[in-house]
């Protein structure tokens, strides 16, 4: 991860202020164990050679708690649950705009207002005990800050949503997809399944021992699927999984909201029963 500041880059270590060199540098080297600010503009961030994207805010090093990994977690899961030492701070408006751009770029109108309200609500909910939200789809995808749109400004002028827990949402839609996974991979997740069928939110797994219904999200994440599988065809070495739409199928279906013609309040009422 590399960063660059178009203005003056500064690192704070307690009260000590150090000016950083201009130009690209690794985030790790720039940050050290301090806090870095870019005066005069946003940070530009480049990850693994991808195009640069703006991060208007402050990066800080925040040590991770010394916590042993939970039993039964894979190294990847353990790493994800442990958290990251890099914490980024911005405004709620820029964060919501960034998440909206990452989760559903180009969304406008009432669906954008509703989703912005949900994103702002979820920003207050703890997903990693004692730590900020992550920037992956486990929490809300965040790939940098963006300029708040009129819909976001409108959403943030409304009262906070009267909910306490996490409000899930997903991209939805009816775009068909199909992927192949090895039988071994499917077996590792679903056991000796003979048949897989889903309804968009749950997956029915048929084995010789009986039928089990499991939540879509566990299957979707473990098998890296775009959405909930509706069908699984077992072939010689592979399993052909197919479905329609993207995401875990829980909460607000953003694509359906976009097409609905409903107001933001009605969209939230339909998805979560939140507003009259």
């Amino acid at each position: 991860v590399s960063v660059r500041c178009a203005g003056r880059a500064l690192r704070l270590d307690g009260e000590k202020i150090t000016e950083l060199p201009s130009g690209w540098q690794t985030l790790r080297a720039a940050l050290g164990t301090g806090t870095i600010l870019c005066a005069g503009g946003p940070w530009e961030v480049r990850v693994a050679g991808s195009r640069s994207r703006p991060y208007a805010g402050i990066f800080s090093f925040r040590p991770l708690p010394d916590r042993p990994p939970e039993v039964g977690t894979t190294p990847r899961e353990a790493r994800a649950r442990r958290g990251s030492e890099v914490v980024f701070r911005t405004t709620l408006a820029s964060y919501v705009a960034g998440v909206l751009a990452a989760e559903h770029a180009g969304l406008s109108g009432e669906a954008a207002v509703a989703l912005a309200e949900v994103i702002a609500h979820d920003a207050r909910v703890e997903r990693h005990p004692g730590r900020p939200l992550c920037d992956t789809t486990h929490c809300q995808a965040f790939l940098g800050t963006a300029t708040p749109t009129a819909e976001i400004t409108r959403a943030l002028a409304l009262p906070e949503l009267p909910a306490r827990g996490w409000l899930p949402y997903f991209r939805g839609g009816d775009e068909a997809w199909e992927v192949r996974r090895s039988r071994a991979e499917v077996r590792a997740v679903l056991g000796d399944a003979q048949r897989v069928q889903g309804d968009g939110r749950t997956v029915e797994v048929t084995r010789a021992t009986g039928v089990e219904r499991v939540g879509c999200e566990r299957v979707r994440v473990a098998l890296r699927l775009p959405g909930c599988p509706r069908d699984g065809v077992f072939e010689e070495e592979t399993v052909r999984l197919s479905g329609r739409g993207r995401g875990h199928g829980l909460g607000l279906d953003v694509e359906a909201a976009r097409r609905s013609g409903l107001s933001a309040d009605e969209i939230l009422q339909r998805a979560y029963g939140l507003r009259p």
Partner: protein, 159 residues
């Protein structure tokens, strides 16, 4: 003589506005005395030049610039301009309000005292914002979107 009277009147007016705005006063050395304001730190200082001789930056003096134009609100979290626009100032820390606000943002993040010399402007530090303005300028209220938001960064590549 008329000029000196104008300067004196303006100085009194600015000090009055500073008190009205948040209970802080600036002494003749530019130091700020803190009062009130539990949730935010209110810091002000008035131009040493104005206090000592009434100097104002070019293009601003004589009412050439209207007070409603003399406002810049910067986010302490994102560093973005939330309201107003940049304007020329004459301060040790920079020649424009943006640089001055950035300076105040950085100094406060480092736990240091904010800058103490500027043109005839007030610099105020709130929980979420740095405000550089003419004390007669109306400042927009804090919005919910100005609050901080934090994420743990894995900083995934763009798909």
């Amino acid at each position: 003589l008329v000029r000196l009277r104008e300067i004196g009147a303006r100085r009194s007016e600015l000090e009055l506005h500073a008190r009205d705005a948040g209970g802080a006063t600036c002494n003749s050395a530019g130091d700020s005395a803190m009062r009130g304001a539990r949730s935010s730190t209110f810091v002000c200082w008035i131009s040493l030049a104005l206090l000592l001789g009434g100097w104002s930056p070019p293009g601003v003096d004589g009412g050439a610039a209207r007070s409603e134009e003399r406002l810049l609100v910067l986010s302490r979290h994102s560093g973005e301009v939330l309201a107003g626009k940049d304007l020329t100032v004459h301060a040790l820390e920079g020649n424009d309000a943006r640089a001055l606000a950035d300076f105040a943002r950085i100094e406060s993040a480092a736990g240091r005292s904010p800058p103490r010399s500027a043109a005839d402007l007030v610099v105020r530090l709130e929980d979420d914002r740095v405000i550089v303005n003419d004390p007669r300028t109306a400042v927009p209220p804090t919005a919910r979107g100005d609050a901080p938001a934090e994420v743990q960064g894995w900083l995934a590549p763009t798909a």
